[in-house]
């Protein structure tokens, strides 16, 4: 697993909604304009399909940045 690939996947998922340069490893997710529950569902679905692990809404809500989400996924994959 690679952080850069993970960021690329996030950018692809949100290509219609968020300008790609705004999604960086240390971006504060909740500072993104219009970030909401629908975005969370998209992230959870993407992680489930791409990495075959399920993260919950509660777990995701504790993540502040894309890097935090990446770390959460890594921990689940290796668990």
């Amino acid at each position: 697993m690679n952080l850069n690939n993970f960021i690329e996947k996030l950018r692809e998922e949100f290509e219609d909604e968020i300008e790609s340069h705004l999604i960086q490893p240390n971006t504060k997710i909740k500072d993104l304009e219009d970030w909401g529950s629908m975005y969370a569902l998209i992230v959870i679905a993407m992680v489930d399909i791409e990495y075959d692990v399920t993260i919950t809404g509660v777990e995701l809500s504790k993540c502040e940045t894309p890097e935090d989400i990446f770390d959460l996924v890594c921990n689940k994959v290796t668990a």
Binding site: D16, E17, M38, I42, I44, I49, G57
Partner: protein, 346 residues
């Protein structure tokens, strides 16, 4: 028992009736253009059918049943079982199924009762009706499944208004001597998640509350989308897998997957997890939204027609999941099943 097998009962016909009034998500005034675009992209719901006040689930089911019975050429006196599955009945009591027995002109020796389930209701209803028909040697049965949800949502609620649509369906069931009509079920429940989708007010549990606790929102359907999404991703794919393993059937042998239509993102995630080809998973959500228990038969009627099953046997996996929390899947064969084109009410 969650996993069980049944045989000897076939689905002879399916119909669906929807209200004429169409409501478009692009026209919702309390959502921004960006919100609407994201909502339609993620849920897949562009439009829904809306039952104006006074139209009940039973009205839609009655019309669906009458048209299908006529098309199939059954005599009403032959129908000895009527199961009505809904969470929007005509009254608290009596059971709506019994009112429908009279309205449809079925005889008094027809067994009629309600099942109060939502999104999983079609699969549960099939299981109950098939088991009763087999054990009681009932030759012909009628399963009526539907929901008028749109009247139960709060006017400006972003989480429910764009999602729910109304529909009533009818399914004709027939006892058969053929052993090819095997169906494999897995039915499950988890009441610890009962508050994920809930309508509280007016019920026994809330009646005795002191007035100060009254909350206007409790009169309407409340949906915790995140909780439902988490539940669905965790439970549905394994449930489908367990049915396929129980039936010793590979996912590639199935012709059609027809699942509850709650959210396109959910269904696409399940499809990709299970490695199913895109064209095998059917959708009606774009035109009708989430119609709760009606969504599986409505999707069959929207996407398929009688010619699909004429002298051919198709393996289908149906899966319903949601309010309860309750979920279930069935693998069954459909052959020579009559599909009545969609009927409009009003």
């Amino acid at each position: 028992m969650a996993l069980h097998k049944q045989n000897g009962v076939r689905i002879a016909g399916i119909s669906a009736c929807v209200p004429k009034e169409v409501r478009y998500n692009k026209d919702i005034e309390f959502l921004s253009e960006k919100e609407k675009k994201l909502l339609i992209k993620t849920t897949g719901i562009a439009e829904r059918r809306y039952a104006e006040e006074g139209i009940c689930t039973s009205d839609l089911c009655e019309k669906a049943a009458n048209s299908l019975i006529e098309k199939k050429g059954w005599k009403k006196e032959e129908i000895k079982l009527l199961v009505f599955v809904s969470q929007s009945p005509d009254y608290f009591l009596p059971a709506t199924s019994i009112i429908l027995q009279d309205k449809l002109g079925l005889k008094n020796d027809c067994v009629a009762f309600d099942i109060c389930l939502g999104c999983s209701g079609y699969v549960y209803g099939l299981s109950v009706a098939m088991a009763m028909m087999k054990s009681m040697s009932i030759q012909k049965g009628l399963l009526l499944v539907g929901e008028v949800s749109s009247q139960g949502v709060m006017k400006l609620d972003k989480t429910t208004v764009p999602l729910f649509g109304d529909a009533g369906t009818a399914t004709l069931l027939e006892l058969t001597s053929s052993f090819t009509n095997e169906s494999f079920y897995s039915l499950k429940s988890d009441g610890s998640g009962h508050d994920a989708i809930i309508m509280r007010e007016g019920s026994g549990r809330t009646k005795s509350r002191p007035n100060k606790e009254f909350n206007e929102e409790d009169k309407y359907l409340k949906l915790d989308g995140q909780k439902v999404f988490d539940f669905t991703l965790k439970e549905v794919a394994p449930n489908i897998k367990s049915v396929l393993a129980f039936a010793n059937t590979d996912v590639s042998e199935v012709d059609f997957f027809i699942w509850h239509q709650a959210n396109k993102l959910i269904n696409e995630t399940i499809r990709r997890k299970l490695g199913i080809e895109k064209q095998k998973v059917l959708y009606s959500i774009q035109k009708y939204g989430n119609t709760s228990s009606a969504s599986i038969p409505l999707t069959i009627v929207e996407c398929l027609d009688s010619s699909t099953f004429q002298n051919e046997t198709k393996k289908c996996v149906l899966s319903g999941f949601g309010v309860g929390l309750s979920w279930g899947s069935v693998l069954l064969n459909l052959s020579n099943t009559i599909i009545h084109p969609i009927i409009e009410f009003g």
